[in-house]
Symmetry: C3
Subunit: 139 residues, 3 copies
């Protein structure tokens, strides 16, 4: 049983930028040599999140619109009144979606559905450099 | 320390079908022989999700209504315009709820609350055959 | 590789009480002696959840308001008609947010962002005594 931990860097545009990180994550799994086990992904920071989606631009836009309905950008946020950085909506979105995701590995591959991809969602109101922590545990 | 991975098959009706899978998951834990550790559940596919709930039909219907408010079925989705399969709302719901769930094990049992059950939510717009990956890690 | 499982008790006021539990969780990590690995947190019970947030009162209030929009308190819930305990909204909120959270550990510390804190959300309609299960796995 081994544990391999690494960090993957990504540049985002913010503004609910949704990036497909599946290829980079799968590459880490191949390099770890782990065949059977699982991967845990975590985004540090309080204005980003992780989930899975069929990564085609129609669904990606539909998800953005749903998130806009849940935590609209153009309503007052107490965070903005106190701190003036204008990203109260970003914090709320990130807390609702959540920072962690686990995926099983089988024969050295992410056990995703055919159309299912891993995405990083950056809700901040400006471009950011992000690091996704990848932790692979198994044999 | 061992890892035991298996898949549990379920038939769903789609249309935000919410199925109690606690008994089947607990059975896998018993068969694994693991006493202390944790279980990671994952649903592959981009129109389904996992969570926990008090599984009584009132709450289950209340959850369905909340999901209908968040990602209504009867609004336009870009996914549907592009692909014509009419399940844009299913994809959005699945991404918001998320595909993975972890639960601790103590003395060979899922450490859930008294009324807390594990559920599979199938948001697709047609019946589906689903497989939930169950990965048990521990001693 | 070792597994250390423990439970942390918290008193909450309910009513979407959002409590910062980061210090207590970090203390468990230090006591476990695990340097490299991960921590899995789980809240048993069907009216509470876990997530991360920048824990300042503005954002915390903003998150409460977003949750109020998603699953309002003052609409009818089937759960309440059947069981009369008036906390249908609490169950729906908990299922949407989810009971589990994983965080990587590096050099014996939770690998959170600078402003990112771990929070317990208690959605019940009365004060509760809660236990968060903390499972540390690693070396």
């Amino acid at each position: 049983m081994k544990i391999v931990t690494s960090e993957l860097p990504f540049k985002t545009t913010g503004q609910t930028d949704i990036i497909n990180i599946t290829r980079e994550v799968q590459e880490e799994v191949l390099q770890s040599g782990v065949q059977d086990g699982s991967i845990m992904l975590f985004i540090s920071g309080s204005t980003a999140a992780l989930t899975t989606i069929e990564f085609e631009s129609g669904v990606v836009n539909d998800l953005k619109k749903a998130i806009d309905r849940i935590a609209p950008r153009d309503i007052p946020y107490e965070h903005d009144r106190r701190w003036g950085d204008g990203n109260g909506f970003s914090h709320v979105r990130a807390s609702l979606l959540g920072p962690s995701l686990s995926i099983p590995l089988m024969e050295g591959r992410l056990f995703l559905g055919t159309w299912q991809q891993v995405v990083l969602l950056d809700f901040d109101n400006r471009p950011r450099s992000r690091k996704v922590t990848v932790q692979i545990m198994g044999k």
